[in-house]
């Protein structure tokens, strides 16, 4: 039986092998890599943009960058997954700084259907409720000021540490802390206000 440490080691080895095979030009290995990690990047991008099509484009850009920079991956400084996620976060936040998605698409928000990914599954009230709740959460999150939104997103959705967020955003750790705190409080207030408005109350917990 494998212990946790051995498993971790085996994982690192397979990741290393996968990266090496990709570098040697094995298309199958590259496809495996894309299939394995595209979901996380896609979700990360979606959470930042709240647009499925923008998330798709961003995910493509991220993987093009990964493809170009795969040679600079060093297994000794971290796992392949964390390296990929780091590349993804950096690119998405960079793009975010330079572009003005929100301004460009502010009017077209109504056109976006949030739930077309789940169309195949039959809706029960439970999933409907969850979807509605998720929509409410995402809407609330995106109504926050940029810096608060980023902080909450990276902390509570991506589950990064304060230090990682500070490095990523190039701001002091204290600022990260206060932004997360402020962001959570603001979001809770927005949600409780909207929830009351929409008829979601304390007792409607599922």
């Amino acid at each position: 039986m494998l212990t946790g440490q051995q498993e971790g080691k085996a994982q690192v080895e397979t990741e290393q092998k996968l990266a090496e095979r990709c570098l040697s030009g094995d298309p199958e290995a590259w496809e495996t890599l894309v299939r394995t990690y595209s979901k996380r990047i896609y979700n990360l991008a979606y959470r930042f943009t709240k647009k499925f099509h923008a998330a798709e484009e961003l995910t493509q850009d991220v993987f093009v960058k990964i493809y170009q920079n795969l040679g600079s991956f060093r297994p000794e400084s971290g796992s392949l997954q964390s390296w990929i996620m780091r590349v993804g976060r950096n690119l998405i936040i960079d793009q975010y700084r330079h572009s003005h998605w929100e301004k460009n698409v502010a009017g077209s928000e109504e056109l976006e259907t949030v739930d077309f990914e789940d169309k195949e599954r039959p809706d029960s009230y439970q999933t409907l409720f969850q979807r509605e709740k998720a929509k409410l959460l995402m809407d609330g999150l995106h109504s926050l000021p940029e810096e608060l939104k980023q902080a909450v997103l990276l902390r509570d959705l991506e589950e990064m540490t304060y230090q990682e967020i500070a490095d990523l955003l190039r701001i002091p750790e204290g600022t990260v802390k206060s932004r997360i705190n402020r962001g959570r409080i603001e979001l809770a207030r927005v949600l409780s206000h909207r929830g009351r408005h929409l008829g979601f109350t304390e007792s409607s917990e599922i």
Binding site: G25, V34, Q130, N181, R184, I185, A188, S192
Partner: protein, 279 residues
């Protein structure tokens, strides 16, 4: 401790990062201030909700788009994946299965009510001879249809093969046949004119015809422009020279500008012929 202090320390308190004295003070404040207590509850619930947000499955086209943009290897989805599954997926859900079942029931009822009834059938239809006759007719009709279909598929395949191997020649062929059709048409019209003209005017021979007979070779020039799918414009010209007695054309030369035109990939070959020799 004020409510503002409580708010500032909320996250650190919730994550257990404060020392005992400060968290004691916060506990104290929470007990005394219902608003701050509510806020604390709401923030805790929010963090739980954020952790439980659903992950979305990326569409299949995303992986393909990435592969196409990176390694250039585009994996075409299999027939099953691309056609069968998306087509029949709606029918696999309960709701659609129920709807389909109801539809079949109604169809069955409708057919049994207004469909071919048994009233037109007589005892004569069940004689061995009648049965044999019907079966024979039916078999023959099916056989002929099958044969026609086979012929059609063979023709189409041959045509496709021709296009694939020699698209330039095929285009030339189409143009030449079109030009000849136009040419024949004009000839027919002239013929009709010539036949009609003497009967109308009563003259046995027109001076024009004599003039024409005097010339050894008449050159008719038929420019034609045929727009072809994938090309903006494809122009070709044909020179038809024929003898004094309206003999069939001896030479037909066609100049194709195929190499200047973007064609769909299926027609692209390595040939690079600008001018095609006289047929």
């Amino acid at each position: 401790m004020t409510c503002a202090d409580f708010e500032n320390l909320l996250t650190e308190y919730a994550e257990g990062r404060l020392d005992r004295i400060v968290s004691g003070e916060i506990e104290q404040h929470r007990r005394n201030c219902p608003q701050c207590h509510l806020l604390f509850q709401e923030v805790s619930r929010l963090v739980d909700d954020l952790h439980g947000l659903p992950e979305y499955e990326p569409p299949e086209r995303l992986v393909n788009a990435i592969l196409k943009r990176t390694s250039g290897v585009y994996k075409r989805p299999s027939f099953w994946q691309a056609i069968v599954v998306p087509t029949f997926r709606p029918f696999l859900t309960q709701r659609f299965a129920a709807a389909t079942a109801i539809m079949f029931v109604f169809l069955f009822m409708t057919v049994s009510l207004i469909g071919p009834g048994l009233s037109g059938v007589t005892a004569d239809d069940f004689t061995p001879r009648a049965i044999y006759k019907h079966a024979d007719n039916f078999t023959h009709s099916v056989y002929h249809r099958l044969q026609a279909f086979n012929q059609w598929t063979t023709d189409m395949r041959a045509e496709l093969q021709l296009w694939r191997t020699d698209w330039a020649g095929r285009i030339d062929y189409q143009i030449i046949t079109a030009l000849f059709r136009v040419y024949e048409n004009t000839q027919d019209k002239q013929q009709i004119k010539r036949e009609n003209a003497p009967s109308k005017t009563g003259e046995p021979e027109s001076p024009k015809g004599q003039k024409k007979e005097g010339k050894p070779v008449k050159k008719s020039y038929l420019p034609l422009r045929i727009p072809i799918d994938g090309a903006k414009r494809y122009s070709a010209s044909i020179d038809i020279s024929h003898g004094p007695d309206d003999a069939p054309a001896e030479t037909a030369c066609i100049q194709s500008r195929a190499s200047h035109v973007e064609f769909p990939a299926m027609f692209r070959t390595n040939r690079n012929e600008n001018v095609r020799q006289p047929l």
